[in-house]
């Protein structure tokens, strides 16, 4: 039988207070009993994400199953910013508001909650560089070699926001990004996108822009449990019905509009009294 007294590896590098969603999940997992089919090793206190420090296990005699170990997603919780300082928040809200502006067609990135999504991502594993290799040496690579910064995403955002504000201050009479008129804001963003604007602080402009745009679209279109795509308005705008699981009866109905309202992992507005 598996030992149920196996120590759960601690998060070695998590800043305190930034791991709320994960801690909840860990507690949930730790509560599980030992795998019946395990003949040695530890309970399935799974760090399911390829992290070192997950307990080695041995299985023989059956497919194992353990109570309380479902690998449920680590959603975002709370309100307010954990990662961004007030100054950074003002910058990032203004920037993503230009990447996806608001109008009658659909929500802007700010209205969809993208800044909050980015905050929780940067405060958590993604921000720390989980699933990034950040070891040296760090010579400059070719475009084909992709991301070659020594910065984790959290470090990159922090350095880049400072550098963007530095550029804007120096080139727009001391203004900050949030005070720029739309055309100037877009010109600055296009310069960062193309690399024509060189950012200071060791920030590769194109790498930062590529990450920011990708993360903005993630916050705009991912399941609302991660803090963005507020009210699934981005899904509504394009006509994506969300986390539906069975379309069998629609497969052969060519050209018909599927009338389902979008639904996320937590359901949808209207399922719970008092939600909007």
């Amino acid at each position: 039988m598996a030992g149920s007294d196996e120590r759960v590896p601690a998060d070695r590098d998590a800043p305190p207070g930034l791991e709320a969603p994960d801690l909840g999940r860990r507690r949930f997992l730790i509560g599980g009993a030992a795998a019946a089919a395990s003949i040695s090793g530890a309970a399935a206190v799974g760090l399911h994400d390829g992290e070192l420090g997950a307990p080695p296990q041995t299985f023989r005699g059956a497919v194992p199953w353990t109570e309380g170990t479902a690998d449920v997603p680590p959603g975002a919780s709370g309100t307010g910013y954990l990662f961004f300082t007030p100054g950074e928040a003002a910058s990032i809200e203004a920037i993503v508001g230009r990447l996806i502006p608001n109008d009658e067609v659909g929500p802007g990135a700010v209205e969809a909650g993208v800044p909050f999504f980015l905050d929780r991502q940067l405060a958590g594993r993604f921000g720390r560089g989980d699933h990034y290799f950040l070891g040296g040496p760090w010579p400059k690579g070719t475009p084909e070699q992709g991301y070659q910064s020594r910065f984790s995403p959290a470090q990159l955002y922090r350095a880049a926001i400072t550098a963007v504000e530095e550029y804007v201050g120096a080139n727009f009479h001391g203004a900050s990004f949030s005070k720029l008129v739309a055309a100037d804001a877009d010109t600055v963003l296009r310069g960062i996108e193309s690399g024509a604007i060189k950012l200071t602080g060791g920030v590769d402009s194109k790498s930062f822009f590529a990450m920011l745009l990708q993360n903005t679209k993630e916050g705009y279109f991912s399941d609302p449990i991660y803090g963005g795509n507020r009210n699934m308005a981005a899904w509504k705008m394009i006509g994506f019905p969300g986390a539906h699981y069975d379309y069998k009866e629609w497969v052969s109905r060519h050209g018909e509009r599927v009338p389902f309202e979008p639904v996320g992992f937590k359901g949808r507005p209207g399922w719970t009294e008092g939600t909007t």
């Binding site: 059956a62 996806i100 290799f133 993630e218 050209g255």
Partner: protein, 589 residues
């Protein structure tokens, strides 16, 4: 300190499709087998249940089921004049890890290679002359195994998965509705094809109108419930659109979990150890025999597992790296062309054509990993290459794997990547667009290879694998030619507009292309130009077998898993019927 464990008959290094298939075959033959998997245990009910499986952010973009490159990655460069740098983030290919590995998050596209694909050198040389197979410094080879030898084993894999499709060639007789170009099949598919949604249907009609030969993509996303020979039951696919990069919560995508593990895990002579990474294969003093493997578990404890037979059943990149780290075979040197381990690394040449309608609602979110109507008219040697300046080809698929909105929003030519204009294009086109996929072969080339990196090391202090790769003019010409053929079908669908996404420039690690890496541990007829024989047995250390797509001497224009599985069954049959009675070389050098 290294703890020596009790000897076993066979140790499997890695536990995805090939490890599971070989494990089952060896256990059925009565061997005591231990599988070492460096990732975690994973199963449907716990790890990708339908209540949370359809999560694009977590699985696709946060790489939840993929290899964590924080601890182990490789270095990359386009040619030997460049300095290889680490792949710091997954992009071009999405490496698997954990029980089932890539077999969990694949699309379920199940293909057989063409009979002529196994004779890349001799067939093309005979038809087009010697220059055709040596132009551009190509180093293509024959496989040393034929389609006819593999056919019963392709069949075994189809029975295991319950593959849904329609035969195009039954024992030499061409069948209506199937792929008329395929090699002869001994049997019809176990289950009928999936039902096609609107976009693949329109694609098929347009292709037929041009005189092409459309057929439903053969798929491991099952069209109906199926019980396989091991007693595992699969359910009918619900077309949820979350196959590739995701685990199936519905037991309707063939994977080691859904087809084999209930049977294999119950066997008393099979043991699986997870979070155990093999560091190297240990050899006898004269280097002619493997004595077992040394591995370290996630608690940092090191073990030596003695074994009569070592089966490398990890992904191609790890198998090749372990051979190089363990001193099995002679490393390939691109300067001299001598040596074999790492030789002929190849990939897949991908391009696409986006199709935009003004008024047709396609509902792209109704999808499945292999939901497509395909034409094979321009794959392999299914068409005359005379005067074209390339060999190889691609299938063209009107394919809808899903409509996951972070990844799969198509916008017309000239649309900016952000801003109001992008948002309006996304809103306007999402329901009315899809992509035609051009899935091309990749020939082997003298300068494309794998070796050990001189600078970068993994968490265990071992050199990373170094990948040197670029597309050759052969691949660019092939891809342009077949992409033009795909555009003809696209235009015949009478859309508002189309957008060609050609294969341009050098290979880049950034955009996702496909996880079809091949070569480096190639098979062949003799040890001077191959690493393993036709039974995937090392020429140098005959109790080591290297499974998987590393054996491909070059890559054909199809998804590799069907051929990977068939080669594994083919090897297993020879091991259990001949090798176990008299361990030693199965082919005399």
């Amino acid at each position: 300190m290294t703890t020596t464990l009790k000897p076993v008959d066979a140790v499997l290094v890695g536990f995805g499709w090939t490890g599971a298939i070989m494990g089952q075959q060896l256990c059925d033959a009565g061997l005591n087998v231990v599988a070492l998997e460096r990732g975690p245990w994973r199963d449907t009910s716990t790890d990708f249940a339908t209540g949370f499986a359809q999560d694009e952010l977590r699985y696709m973009w946060r790489h939840h089921l993929f290899q964590n490159v924080t601890y182990d990655t490789l270095t990359i460069r386009n040619n030997t004049n460049q300095e290889a740098l680490p792949m710091r983030h997954l992009g071009s290919f999405l490496l698997g890890t954990g029980v089932g590995s890539g077999g969990v998050h694949w699309n379920g596209q199940i293909w057989r290679f063409l009979p002529s694909d196994f004779l890349t050198k001799s067939h093309n040389e005979q038809r087009y002359g010697k220059k055709a197979v040596t132009d551009y410094d190509l180093t293509v080879q024959d496989w040393g195994v034929t389609y006819e030898e593999l056919e019963p084993h392709y069949e075994q894999f189809d029975r295991l998965c319950g593959t849904s499709g329609r035969a195009g060639n039954l024992n030499g007789k061409i069948q209506p509705g199937g792929n008329p170009f395929e090699g002869p099949r001994s049997n019809e598919y176990p289950t009928p094809p999936m039902i096609q949604t609107y976009a693949p249907t329109l694609f098929g009609q347009a292709a037929a109108g041009l005189g092409r030969h459309p057929f439903p993509h053969p798929t491991g996303n099952l069209s109906q419930p199926y019980v396989n020979p091991l007693g595992a039951q699969l359910g009918a696919c619900t077309y949820c659109g979350f196959c590739e990069k995701f685990g199936c919560g519905n037991y309707s995508k063939a994977s080691p979990q859904t087809t084999m593990l209930p049977y294999l895990m119950a066997k008393s002579n099979f043991t699986l150890k997870t979070e155990c990474e093999v560091l190297r294969v240990e050899l006898s003093a004269d280097r002619t025999r493997a004595t077992g493997v040394t591995y370290v578990n996630s608690a940092g404890e090191e073990f030596f597992q003695p074994a009569e037979m070592v089966v490398l059943s990890a992904y191609v990149l790890q198998n090749v790296r372990l051979m190089l780290l363990s001193g099995i075979g002679t490393p390939y040197d691109p300067a001299t062309g001598k040596g074999v381990v790492g030789k002929n690394y190849a990939y897949q040449t991908m391009s696409s054509v986006d199709v935009f309608f003004e008024d047709k609602i396609l509902n792209p979110f109704i999808g499945a990993g292999a939901l497509a109507t395909v034409i094979d008219d321009f794959n392999g040697d299914n068409f005359d290459h005379a005067g074209l300046g390339f060999i190889g080809g691609a299938y063209i698929a009107g394919m809808v794997t899903g409509g996951r909105p972070i990844e799969m929003i198509y916008t017309p030519e000239g649309t900016p990547a952000w801003g109001l204009e992008w948002k309006h294009a996304a809103a306007k086109n999402y329901l009315k667009s899809f992509a035609i996929s051009v899935h091309g072969s990749c020939m082997s080339h003298r300068g494309n290879y794998l070796d050990l990196d001189p600078t970068y090391k993994d968490v265990h202090g071992r050199p990373m694998l170094r990948m040197t790769f670029d597309f050759t003019p052969n691949e660019h010409k092939m891809s342009d030619y077949v992409t033009d053929r795909a555009a003809e079908v696209a235009r015949a669908m009478n859309p508002r507009e189309i957008k060609l996404n050609r294969r341009v420039g050098s290979w880049s690690v950034v955009p996702y292309q496909t996880t079809h890496n091949t070569g480096g541990a190639i098979m062949g007829a003799n040890p001077t130009d191959s690493v393993v024989n036709k039974f995937l047995q090392s020429w140098d250390v005959p109790n080591v077998f290297s499974l998987g797509s590393g054996a491909f001497p070059q890559n054909a224009g199809y998804n590799p898993t069907g051929t990977v599985a068939a080669l594994t069954y083919h090897a297993a049959q020879e091991i259990t019927s001949r090798y176990l009675k008299s361990p030693g070389p199965l082919v005399q050098a």
